[in-house]
Symmetry: C2
């Protein structure tokens, strides 16, 4: 997947633009867009193209793009779908670099439309033109300024870049943002994403100074692997906030593994967002809260919050929310308290939440903030106001803005002014000064938590993807053999072979052809042991009495060896017997599971969990997309709720977590090397005591056709 570099030239502020399909008809798309371009104050050249008009809005019209007097950088196409390709062909003659195809009637309408879209992409590729859309609402750049969109709402200038896969939701968000004085740098309606996608825009906006926060509404991503690469990189520079809908996994799927039954697109997106540092907004509300906070306020340098309030109730609510989010309330320093005591009434609460009482006027707020902001124990401040008899909402908002202007320690300050009409003006004042105000205390605290998590992500140094010395050829050979035999489900011994080739420990075992052989092998391996009949004719070993476990000594070995032979002879007298597998019996172990499931969007997705009921009933598992780093493997193990069982509790020994990490990394390398693996379970992976390693008890592997 080629990713266009939108930064070559300026897609968002071209020197010249042609509107193919510009129209005089009031309310028509080609009319509205032209009007929006003009009204936005765009200063480049504008060429309306319409064979039936001389001029529109007083601007000279051209019968065809071929007739424009100069080359054109960007064309906006609004004509019916069947004419779009030709218009693009013609555009190429004018050295057009970018086309925004507003016209609908492509992939979204069915097979015919999809064909037309493919054709469109081909034409574009032929001439090196990059396309936004089709079936989109256009773009807005508030700094250029340039409103080449269908949206009459031109947001105010701000630092938020916003792209939307739903045009309707995009305009609804612009509308709400405008009502709340929230500014944007850019807006892009993605439409069908035939060419330009979120990947291009994330990449471009990562470099743009006018954009400090990247936001997106997505229903899916275009190229998952690329998406992971780009967003991991960009999110280290600036926050990417994504609202992703469509989390319901479509219908029942035919799955044959544990991992498969637990995986699915929702899990894949969850894993991707975790791995790339993308901040997920679950609702439009979250979207606004996060975008506002990140674009308005500095990032917190620590996690300790001071709450200042003029009423107990809301203070308790904020405290509850902090507790729930594991955000510690700052311990207010004794010096700070001394200072506060100089002017706060005796009945005030000097500890956190700092309650400056219901009769607090704006100057009491200001003095308190001035002192608290300089307390080195405080990393962030939440200022709450509840309108009471003497409260001065607007004056208090002014005081807060003054404090923020002199905020030398650069700590984030969030506000929560509760109420309706009485605080309306104050809230507007705050928003115009880039002070994020929240409807309810819980949303303010949740947003602070998201900011703190982002700082953790930004500061975290990820470890590189490791590469183990493995026997790749051996694996390729096994897969080739399977494919040659038209088997996609690998046999047990093949799966064992693959694990061994990638350095994943399996129980030591050797085939014994007679009892003497068995005794020798037993000496080698050491007791306890497992005995298993090996015969190409016997599929269900247990059913014929062909398996014995926990063999403790030579005497038991002899007895059981003979028993197995006797049983098999009895139940399946004609079976061809290769011998009896003598295998080490793993003791002092915990059962875990490592699985892989191929996600159609993001590729191989690795699962980890504790085995048995923890996976089956509690579904207590974690997912990441391969390839993964040691750091990520470590995180995914610690993410499960039952991690404490591995750490060792109730006086139990701690498990060998390092060896689980190592196994995950080797599996990650395996499925990255061999994308044909569509499903894989190591179940159980026996994890022994710290320092004693992990051993794959059983494995299933399925490859694609």
């Amino acid at each position: 997947m080629e990713v266009c570099d939108l930064s070559k030239g300026n897609f968002f502020c071209p020197r010249s633009v042609a509107v193919i399909g510009a129209s005089r008809g009031k309310g028509k798309v080609g009319n509205v867009i032209l009007e929006n371009i003009i009204n936005s104050g765009y200063s480049g050249k504008i060429y309306p193209v319409n064979p039936n008009a001389d001029e529109i809005f007083g601007i000279k019209c051209y019968p065809s793009i071929l007739d424009t007097p100069t080359d054109v950088e960007l064309v906006i196409i609004t004509i019916p779908a069947q004419f779009v390709c030709q218009a693009l062909e013609e555009s190429s003659k004018k050295n057009v670099r970018w086309a925004i195809v507003i016209s609908a009637g492509f992939k979204e309408t069915g097979i015919e439309g999809a064909k037309r879209e493919t054709q469109l992409v081909e034409v574009a590729k032929k001439y090196g033109i990059r396309i936004l859309g089709p079936n989109c609402l256009g773009i807005i750049d508030t700094y250029c300024p340039f409103n080449a969109s269908f949206s009459k709402t031109m947001p105010s200038k701000g630092k938020i870049g916003f792209l939307s896969q739903s045009g309707a939701l995009g305009t609804a968000i612009l509308d709400r943002a405008t009502a709340n004085n929230i500014g944007f740098s850019k807006f892009v309606s993605l439409g069908n994403k035939a060419d330009i996608s979120e990947n291009d825009l994330f990449s471009d906006w990562g470099e743009k100074d006018d954009t400090s926060v990247i936001t997106a509404y997505l229903e899916g991503v275009k190229c998952g692997r690329e998406f992971i690469k780009i967003s991991s990189r960009v999110s280290k520079k600036k926050p990417i906030i994504v609202m992703k809908s469509g989390n319901t996994d479509a219908g029942a799927r035919a799955v044959s593994s544990h991992t498969g039954s637990l995986a699915g697109s929702a899990r894949a997106y969850e894993a991707t967002f975790k791995q790339t540092g993308i901040i997920r907004a679950n609702t439009i509300k979250d979207f606004f809260n996060y975008a506002m906070a990140f674009s308005y306020q500095p990032l917190p340098k620590g996690k300790k919050v001071a709450i200042i309030t003029n009423a107990g109730g809301p203070g308790i609510m904020a405290t509850d929310a902090c507790e729930k989010n594991n955000i510690p309330l700052a311990t207010i320093g004794t010096e700070t308290i001394e200072e506060l005591k100089k002017f706060l009434p005796e009945a005030a609460n000097f500890y956190n939440p700092i309650d400056i009482l219901g009769d607090a006027l704006s100057d009491r707020y200001k003095k308190t903030m001035e002192i608290v902001i300089n307390d080195s124990n405080v990393d962030a401040m939440l200022v709450m106001l509840t309108p009471q008899a003497m409260t001065q909402p607007l004056e208090t908002a002014t005081a807060i803005s003054e404090i923020i202007e002199n905020n030398e320690r650069k700590i984030p300050i969030l506000t929560c002014f509760l109420g309706g009409t009485v605080v309306e003006e104050a809230i507007k004042f705050l928003s115009l000064r880039n002070i994020p105000n929240f409807d309810i205390p819980e949303e303010a605290v949740d947003t602070l938590k998201v900011m703190m998590d982002y700082v953790d992500w930004k500061d975290k140094e990820d470890t590189p993807i490791e590469s183990f010395n493995v026997e790749k050829d051996k694996v390729r050979e096994i897969f080739n053999k399977c494919r040659a035999e038209e088997r996609l489900e690998l046999g047990e011994s093949e799966a064992r072979g693959i694990l061994e080739a990638y350095g994943i420990r399996i129980p030591r075992a050797e085939l014994a052809v007679d009892i003497d052989d068995a005794k020798r092998i037993a000496e080698d391996l050491g007791y306890p042991l497992v005995l298993k009949i090996v015969s190409p004719d016997i599929l269900h070993k247990t059913d014929v009495g062909g398996v014995r476990i926990g063999i403790k000594n030579k005497k038991e070995l002899e007895e059981n060896f003979n028993d197995i032979l006797f049983n098999v002879k009895k139940y399946m007298p004609d079976a061809n017997i290769s011998g009896i597998l003598i295998q080490e019996f793993i003791t002092d172990k915990k059962e875990t599971i490592i699985g892989v499931s191929e996600d159609p969007q993001f590729g191989p997705m690795i699962m980890f969990g504790l085995g048995g009921i923890y996976v089956e009933i509690l579904k207590d598992v974690s997912f990441r997309i391969a390839p993964i780093s040691r750091q990520t493997a470590n995180e995914m193990i610690r993410e499960i709720k039952t991690f404490k069982l591995l750490e060792g509790t109730r006086g139990e020994y701690p498990s060998d977590i390092d060896s689980i990490i190592e196994t995950i990394l080797r599996v990650s390398q395996l499925v990255t090397d061999f994308p044909e693996i569509v499903e894989m379970d190591i179940n159980p992976l026996f994890v022994k005591k710290q320092g004693e390693g992990s051993i794959a008890g059983d494995a299933r592997i399925r490859i694609g056709g």
Copy 2:
């Protein structure tokens, strides 16, 4: 705790009211309240009381309440705290029934104030006067009308009764409600709750026709047992929505049992709300959403929702939210689809969510709703609108209100108009017509879920509290003995005795004094068995080799019996040996735990969970307040995440759930009969196969001093 019957007379609309402390000073409490009473349109008699004024706001003033020309039903006291008691004494001479004490300076200020408050309550009791407050903002009744509060905002008429333990939050909510055209029937600021509390008001409002939804902001409840009784009864009539803050359990507590370490005030409130059907609002946002929906719309009769939208994105969001909340999307009937096909564009989505496309005008919305509302598969409707080029927000709102007027099937209709300025007028229109509009799709769906859950609660027939035939005297005897010996922690055999007295099965066992005795007992009990040394001198039986488990036959019995005696003689030659306990060994069992912890507010709280790591690591437990019904016991067992383990999975047998229920009920009866039990653990409670019962493996009981 005596609960006043506010319905005798009308506290909210008295025939006469005196304001003791009425003031001419603009902005003073006694001035504002008097002004509010007058401005609210109150038509009863008003007597301002102030020795230094002839008249205030043109109303004759009296130097003392004793001087008023008639008796007075309600006094509002705003004078300094130290004079309040005397004013109340005087009020009694005028046959005052209720007093609202606005004045602060009581319990909230410390020990002195608390004393004053106790005194106040004594005076009130002496004269049979009921008190609201002190330290409160007063009351509002929109129907009387009567604004005897400090709040300048008089909300519009509505069906929501609202009481608040925080005055500041109360006014903030009234202010926000007014800004959003949400009406109330009554508002009460509770203040210190010296007398009148949420219990009185829930009880009163349960009977009041003007109130269809009861809402409250609480930081605690006054009398937990009473609270449970009243709210369980009232919530069957009308929804009670409670926002409860202060969910952080204060500090670390000294606890000696599993149950104690998992219990705590937050859990107690959670259990109480579940048991009483109280709807918990976690945030102010929830509070408004739920109050609005319940007071505006009929309750759903089923769970199937139809979503109508003019844009895909928000439709997907609503669908995701339904999936998350386990709300099924209605399967639109074929007849309905046929009808819709007659006028909807071909590209529309006729299945749920029904997408009537971006160019839908109000008439398309109306026609669609008209048809869908009559589909018998549909139990509730969510109508979503995203402002696009041709969208008619206000006209669509009008269409919705027309549909609601003719809503013969009485299904709830919720709306979600997304956007800002463009939809502002439409949203106002909706709110004025009692159509609940939600900011975001998720909040609309969450609210629907809450409505559905409430219907389930309302329809659920609870079973009565059962009473088993038990040996109460035997238990009393044991407790008396313990107390006499100043022991609060019961010994093992005492705990066993108590369980037996309440019909809770314990392992059968008998003391053997010699091997012959042991053999006879073993015959009786049947193998396998457990052997335990019994000696007053041996506390840690295992340490001296005094315990053997899984004894399978007579030979093993003899060997182990002698082994134990040998060991004990060796390690503790001087120990006084009573004999060896021969006890049945429980096989085929699952370990569960039933615990009791005394909550200071609500009384004995019963816990259930699976034993071992499920309790310790996953904290997968459920709580209810005793006494509990069979129905509730059943619910609490099914509530734990690991319930499937008891049902039987992976081919395992199902456990005897009925016997767990029975044990919970007997424990419930025990702790209800003996409130002195402050902590109790049956851990493990061995649960055998279905039909085979449950057996208490071990028990710990602690009683209060």
